[in-house]
């Protein structure tokens, strides 16, 4: 990891208003909009007495991870490759992998920052309780972020151009949002569907975050699914990634 490259990539991220909006602001904005609907602030029996707005905080957190993982990270990596920036880096004593890891750190940090923002706004504006099992929540969050970044690297590995990266990113984006429970929270899904969804990275992440928010340990089976995805996707990215 080269700190000068990291600082530069951070600065460049801040100069992309689109990325800043979608990764950092949009998840919380969505939470605020949904939370403004009165019925979302009433306890719901099917949610085990939680209010929909409570259930949407972990979803907002996952949207931040998905945005950075399958949208902004592959765009940035593929763009750097397409423009020959990674190739130019190979001429210097700093390896192009410094640029790759800097992008991961930047995207991961911004996504986690966005998650924190969603938690804080949920707490302050809608009185959503902070996770009762903070250690488990943090662990699930970090694993989910790792899986999202690994997924983004695979998308970038399979995309020759930023156009293709955009297309693959969008194709992956909506199924990932579905698995995270944007339309139906995972815990409310029919049993058979939930079983499948829980095997996907963001389905597992949604369940793990839910449980940690409620004060339970996130569950090794969900954490295990996340860890397995991270390992598989990282191996795939390492195998398929091209520097030029």
């Amino acid at each position: 990891m080269n700190t000068a490259v990291l600082r530069t990539e951070f600065r460049l991220f801040r100069r992309e208003p689109g990325a800043v909006f979608w990764v950092f602001l949009f998840p919380t904005l969505l939470l605020v909009i949904l939370g403004s609907i009165p019925s979302f602030r009433e306890a719901d029996k099917s949610l085990g007495g939680l209010r929909p707005v409570d259930a949407y905080v972990p979803i907002a957190v996952l949207i931040a991870l998905i945005m950075s993982g399958v949208q902004t990270l592959p765009q940035a990596l593929t763009g750097h490759r397409e423009r020959g920036i990674l190739r130019r880096m190979r001429l210097t004593p700093v390896r192009p992998s410094a640029l790759l890891s800097a992008q991961m750190v930047v995207q991961g940090t911004v996504a986690l920052g966005s998650a924190l923002l969603a938690l804080l706004v949920g707490r302050l504006a809608f009185d959503v309780r902070l996770p009762k099992q903070p250690g488990g929540y943090l662990l699930a969050l970090l694993l989910a972020a790792a899986a999202a970044l690994a997924l983004g690297s695979v998308v970038s590995s399979l995309s020759r151009t930023t156009k293709i990266a955009g297309a693959i990113g969008s194709a992956v984006f909506f199924p990932m949002l579905f698995c995270a429970g944007v339309w139906i929270p995972v815990r409310e899904m029919p049993h058979a569907m939930a079983r499948v969804v829980q095997l996907t990275p963001f389905g597992a992440a949604a369940r793990a975050l839910d449980r940690a928010a409620a004060g339970q340990w996130p569950g090794w089976e969900h954490l295990g699914v996340l860890a397995l995805w991270t390992v598989l996707l990282t191996a795939g990215a390492a195998r398929w990634f091209r520097w030029e």
Binding site: T8, L12, R83, I85, R88, P93
Partner: protein
Amino acid sequence: MPTVIEMTDLRKSYGGRAVVDGVSLAVEEGEIFGILGPNGAGKTTTVECVEGLRVPDGGRVRVTGLDPVADHDKVARVLGAQLQESELQPKLTVREALELYASFYPSPLDWAPLAERLGLTGKLATRFGKLSGGQKQRLFIALALIGNPRVVVLDELTTGLDPRARRDTWKLIEDVRDRGVTVLLVTHFMEEAQRLCDRIAVIDKGRVAALDTPAGLIRRSAGATVITFTPSAPLDDHDLAALPALAAIERKDGRITLSGTDETVNAVITLLARNRITAHQLRVVDATLDDAFLDLTKEEAA
């Protein structure tokens, strides 16, 4: 003089076609070594093997005794390069790029005077994406030099530069060479090659077609001297064709253009004197590197 860049029987193929087909060169310390050649001759492929960006299919490349692929990290510390084509992050400013790349090297140059010499001082706050083509080129020249390298590889150094910037850049490269830096330069500008290069390799179809000093290349090419005149009376074609060391005859609007050597000049004058013919508007000029280049790469053009 120790050899700084050495290529032995370098080979590289794409899709079964040999693009670099057995190139051997030795570039010595402190010289500016030029590579000329038609488009697609394999120049960029050759120098990118030196930079370690491409892996040769055969042969050997050494830069300061190191393998640019196996010892990539060590080579990167002593070699600076400007690629024929490359880009930076569009929103990175010139100053940020200079500072960033300077931070990569153990003992970089001070970037401010370098930017000054390349006329970039007024553009330090401009983002890469907003620079003109020539300004981008100047920035890449700066980035090639910023690590204070021992060896610099420049692929089409002044393409896109205006005439003044071109001359300023030549001066800069000469100053760099005077500090003892070895320069490998790919160019399409004969004036640039003639002014800067100590030696030149002409590469054609992936092979070294000629290797000499600029003056040597001109001397060696057929038709190094060009004689033009308008004869006061018709000259016999037979007599002209019999001239020694003649490379070409051209007749146009009564004017005759002959290319050959000094020997040809002497013979023409004798021929004219013998036939009592006056040569009006007689001009005798040395061929340029341009002519030599066209001569050496003739088949390619045909």
